[in-house]
Symmetry: C2
Subunit: 272 residues, 2 copies
């Protein structure tokens, strides 16, 4: 048996491209030891967020992220084969970063009818359970009384609980968590019930969409991409999306759209 | 999608038993959160050895280890699907326990014709490489000059290097490792070249077969099994092999064999 092929990278990526590997992918495979060493050192300086989804665009000759979400939905879309890896990664990360933690309160988005989203939450609960954590789901929906069961097409039942607060701690029923895990992107701002807590909250409340901007994210990404590209001797352009920022845009205001179109045109010209 | 079934335990075990789960397995699945929590705390007190194989005997109603090897051969027998898990486990363990380490000198047994053993070494090298570590294989065989290439049926080539020593450090060619990883069980005692080194050696030289006895191992295992069984409310007998010790046995001396037979008989009677 040999597994010296592209499919043995962790995680395995499913792709519709089945032709020979392109130059960039060959470089990633040939330089794998250096890449993993670089990543290992980078994680030591900056631990990865405990959950994250990255949208990648792969043009074949260029492969770059276009969006990064630290409150990802889509755990239900993970391939069945990757679940053991998720469980193991979670165990390693939590054991290292939160060694005493046993009980987790998961706070999802306020969707009760988006079945795909709720399946996502149910999968995240199962991954946490399999990793050895007790989990309850607490909902920020104002009119939830005590608890609400939602049956899902997968056969699972998701139980949403009313979140209660005692001084500086959140709990549900008689379940007092050591960690609050947010799967809610806080796009409407920080709810009052989450302010001033003395419990561990992951990811940081500062990473909510009401605080983060894509342009800041991609400014930092650009620095990291350059360091990495330098390490493996590639042009950073191959892994870095070009971007530009336009401030104070009103999408209902036509002149603003023209400014965006102009900026987009300039980026496309740079890219040629 | 649901993965609430026995196959989604990490790692997945391939078994010829396909009938309904027996009582012990059901208990393991039902108590999974408590079991993982217990293991997590146990690993914090006593980190697992970085490599280990355990021979299990599964009678269906009873499941117990009968041998534990911290210098395991058989990496080539790992299922293809479990390789990403091995890589990830190795990355997590090494990053935590040996954060600065980049270069590993692997010292295997002195077999040059046991192809299965050499495939095992080649697989271990590949797992270490994929995890992001530079690896060279150093041989304790006295007459290896410089290096020796061995072609394997898998298509891989294993390169054995002569081990050199400079004061308190081992190296091969111009490769100075930060860690020496033993896949050699030291059953003939500790070679002089491995004594008094100032490099990190894993597993500890004290764990060689010339130092360890099975009876001591199973005495400790018995304590751990009792603690664990107490945690999940099962009879420790279900996971603990009964054993007995006979000292100073000469297998060519018939009266000694009779003593062993007598002890075995007593154990079998206890087991009924």
């Amino acid at each position: 048996m040999t597994f010296d092929d592209a499919t043995q990278i962790v995680p395995n990526l499913t792709t519709t491209l089945t032709g020979p590997l392109l130059s960039l992918e060959k470089t990633f495979l040939n330089r794998q030891v250096e890449i993993e060493t670089w990543l290992r050192k980078a994680w030591q300086v900056t631990p990865a967020p405990i959950q994250c989804s990255v949208d990648l665009r792969n043009a074949g000759f260029k492969l770059a992220p276009v969006d990064t979400n630290v409150f990802p939905a889509g755990f239900n879309n993970l391939s069945y084969d990757s679940i053991p890896l998720c469980i193991q990664a979670l165990q390693a990360t939590f054991a290292k970063q939160f060694p005493g933690c046993e009980k987790i309160l998961l706070i999802p988005e306020n969707h009760t009818r988006n079945i795909f989203y709720l399946e996502n939450v149910a999968t995240l609960v199962e991954i946490l359970n399999k990793a050895g954590y007790q989990v309850k789901v607490g909902s920020l929906i104002p009119d939830i009384e005590s608890s609400k069961d939602i049956g899902l097409p997968s056969g699972r039942t998701l139980q949403l609980h009313q979140i209660l607060r005692n001084n500086h701690k959140l709990y549900v029923e008689n379940f007092m968590p050591c960690m609050i895990l947010l799967n809610n992107d806080l796009s409407d701002g920080l709810p009052e019930i989450l302010t001033g807590l003395q419990q561990l909250i992951q990811p940081s409340l500062k990473l909510g969409w009401s605080n983060r901007t894509k342009s800041t994210h991609f400014k930092f990404y650009s620095q990291v991409a350059s360091e990495f590209a330098n390490e493996i001797d590639i042009d950073p352009w191959l892994i870095n999306p070009l971007f530009s920022t336009v401030e104070n845009v009103d999408f209902n205001h036509k002149p603003d759209l023209e400014i965006i179109a102009e900026q987009a045109q300039q980026i496309l010209q740079k890219n040629c």
